[in-house]
């Protein structure tokens, strides 16, 4: 494979690369990194503005939502309005929002009356645990199945894998979640349930290994639901890129060298076909923090998706803006990482 890519790389690099061939490699990368960093910073600022505008335009009265059903006097409501800064003008609020964000203050949630950063902090790890595990498993499973079914496309394995993954991909997540929950937690017919119905742990189980095992048990169903719904993406992208590579002459060369079919696939076809999947993995990693609202709701998982949904209902602007910042920052960061990793994976990018 290395030979092939070098050839392509050399061809692509010649026009641009030849005149400045003598430049040291490091400075090129530094400049590349700086451009990307600046671009990321700009996109972050733009999303900040968009976020603020969007949420400020939301037609709702948070004070009414928060106090509804509780005996609240006029004076209390007026005080609350003042406390929440709702009596300030929009430019004033925007100024506070930008300065607070840039100095790292995410404000206080209206609904929970706690610092937004601590609310997000509390829910960050559960989301990372669930989405991280689910992403790792679905990437591995999806790529592995995609390679197999693409390599022998049209075979029974291909047909089963493609059919099953696309069917699961089109199933509504909450529906699949409910079905799995009923099946494995309550049990069906003679088969009793054996997995917990919701939450992240059994509060009665404390301490060390028991707790870890208990969390793992609680993780199974939400994670399974996520994986089943999501892995199809990787299967189809990987499958089609492998099929694209099938006719390539370098594979013929590899076979002519006498390599086994497995080795041709693993060492030559897969690395070349992997690039579109890498893009997708990073795009997906960016949205990991956003969590999966539906899965978190079905399984009562105490994550960030659930938190932003709750914030949206009031609407709890500081909390919404806080989660929005965290979500967009993670997407931007992952895109930045993808750009950097790409340079190492694909010599063509390096050469540009």
């Amino acid at each position: 494979m290395a030979d092939t890519i070098d050839v392509i790389g050399a061809v692509a690099a010649k026009p641009a690369g030849a005149p400045e061939g003598g430049r040291p490699k490091g400075s090129g990368f530094a400049r590349y990194l700086v451009t990307k960093l600046v671009a990321a910073a700009i996109s972050f600022l733009v999303t900040l503005v968009i976020g603020f505008v969007l949420f400020s335009l939301m037609p709702a009265d948070p004070v009414q939502s928060i106090t509804r059903g509780r005996p609240t006097s006029d004076a209390q409501m007026a005080r609350l309005r003042h406390q929440l800064g709702l009596d300030q003008s929009v430019p004033e609020r925007f100024f506070h929002f930008v300065t607070d964000t840039l100095t790292g203050h995410l404000g206080t949630s209206w609904e929970f009356q706690q610092p937004v950063s601590s609310l997000i902090g509390d829910r960050l790890w559960p989301t990372l645990l669930l989405m991280g595990t689910a992403t790792v498993i679905s990437v591995l499973l999806g790529l592995w199945l995609g390679v197999r079914s693409g390599w022998r496309h049209g075979s029974w394995l291909d047909r089963i894998v493609t059919g099953a993954s696309l069917t699961l991909w089109s199933v509504p997540t909450f529906w699949l979640g409910m079905i799995l929950l009923i099946t494995f937690s309550v049990g069906i017919g003679p088969f009793p349930g054996f997995l917990p119905a919701g939450g992240m742990s059994d509060p009665a189980i404390t301490g060390g290994l028991d707790h870890v095992v208990d969390v793992a048990k609680h993780l199974v169903l939400p994670c399974l639901t996520m994986v089943l719904v999501v892995f199809a993406q990787y299967v189809s992208v990987m499958r089609s890129s492998i099929i694209d590579e099938l006719g390539s002459p370098y594979l013929l060369t590899a076979r002519a060298k006498g390599l086994r079919d497995d080795d041709v696939r693993r060492r030559h076809a897969v690395p070349n076909a992997l690039l579109p999947s890498v893009t997708m993995i990073f795009m997906h990693l960016g949205t990991v923090l956003g969590g999966a609202i539906t899965v978190e709701t079905v399984y009562s998982w105490p994550g960030l998706g659930q938190l932003s949904y709750q914030a949206l209902k009031v609407p709890d602007l500081p909390l919404l803006q806080g989660t929005f910042i965290v979500f967009s920052a993670s997407v931007i960061l992952m895109n930045l990482l993808a750009d950097v990793v790409y340079r190492f994976l694909d010599p063509r990018v390096r050469a540009q």
Binding site: M1, F112, Q113, V136, A197, V213, K217, P302
Partner: protein, 614 residues
Amino acid sequence: MTTSTPLRRTGRKAAALTASLLLGTAAGLVAAPAASADDGGGTLRMPITGIGIDSLNPFLAYFAGSLDVFSGIYPALDRVEQDGTVKPYLADSWTTSSDKLTWTFKIHKGLKWSDGKPITAEDAAWTFNLIMKNSTAATANGSLVGNFASVSAPDATTLVVKTKKPQATMLSVSIPVSGIPIVPKHIWESHVKDLKNYKNDSFPIVGYGPWTLTDYKPEQYVKFDANKDFLLGAPKYAHMIQQAFKNTDAAVAALRSGQLDYVSGLNPTQYQALRSQSGVKAFEQVGNRWNGIEVNGGARTRDGKKIGTGHPALGDVKVREALALAIDRATIVKRVRDGLAQVGASYLPPSLPQYAWQPSGSEKFGYDPAKADSVLDAAGYKKGSDGIRVDPKSKRKLEFRLGIHSDDDADAKVSTYLAGWFKEIGVKVDIQSMSSSKLNADLAKGDWDILMDSWSTGPDPTYLLGIQTCAALPDSKGEGGSTDSFFCDKDYDDLFLRQQSAFDDKQRADLLRRMQAILYKANENIMIYNANGLAAYRTDRVNGIVAGKADSTGAFPAQNSFDQYLDATPAKASSSSSGSGSGTVIGVSVTVVVVLAAGGVFLARRRSSSDDRE
């Protein structure tokens, strides 16, 4: 060639990682006990009430889940049973002065906070005074002490409350769940400065009540230990756990599989499904909530300035009367609530039988579309060529917006029925589904015609009646106010004032009924049904969680969570871990399957590579 090696190695590592994860999980299924670890005395498990807990700081929290927790861990002056009887709690007895302005409470001697310090009248006085003087402390319960002039504790067992005006509802000010929780002064004194940011999260929380809060994880769970020395009798369970469930279907699944003992707030479908489940008892309780529609009879500010975009025809009481006559409430009860509700009429729900009012035969707006038609005809609303009536004054068609809550399944169903029935009498409605926050914001601005609405109430209905007074209208700038329908009536307001100082229960009940009669005639709040509360518990785990006797329709009296958790007793049956045996079997078989599958894949790969090798 060189770049492929690391890739391959990571691939293998990742595969190994996945396999070990899977195996680890499977092993976990076998190793972990299916039932909760128990140290004797039992654990009562239920979901956290409502949409959760917003804060553990009792001066700030609004959510029902928080109020439920506070009722278990902080004391109150007295208790009010659902039927209105007042019972002692921290206060053994109380007296009022002849001018009804001074209340003297005798606080029970010898009680101790969970850290061993004595509970005195000073704790109660300090709590009330803080709420009266510190605006942050007034966040949640400020309005309850709005009429207090002063509170003092002349000695350890005497609490004196002076009010500005006589207050008949004094004994509802500090009660479990809906009243003010009393906190230990020696703990909270040092947090007054930073009250806004104080999370009250050093466990166990120092308090007094049937329970002591020992642990809390946001959005996950709250854990309690029983207080064995509780004044009103120790809880029968040693522990209580409330778990966060973000949807009732999952909570129902947890009840069915034995992970929870009690679930409330069921919908009719869940209730019917649980009725046929063995080992589970599903029960109805009389509803403490009304569901109905608000009609915008003319949104205005407190000083009479018209605001909003309400349809002018709805200002005519005849139009509103016709709407009330066009609703077939019995059909909605049957079709939407599966019969698990009462046909609505009175503004106060049937859970308060001492106050609830029923219209007499001649006053009643029953289902009578022919009468509705004739009422509109007589008032001059003629049908146009399209069958829609026209307002003779504004020349506008009787086309109304009907706002419904987008997250409420019942709203969607009821509004479809309403649209059909209204159409029959020549009234068109445009169903607009929106978020609760948008709906409430529109309501406050008067930008609505008809809204679907629902309210519940605890034992003291003052607040629910208060949102119908003229004082609840927005101020001259169109801001503030907590009005629910822009209803404003002088006679109603007079009665509201009189009931506040009506110290005789019978007299007060009579005033409340007259207020409801006024509301009923105005038809700005048209009641449709009172949904029965639906709940279920595991009979193999818990007894005594339901109090009282079922009425002729099979509905129990409305239950009070404070008493329910206190009275619940572990069931004798020892089959509490029925799931564990089969759980282990399944766990083992899953592990076996995983191991076999892994082995199979490994062998297959070996064989395929050896094929290639040959």
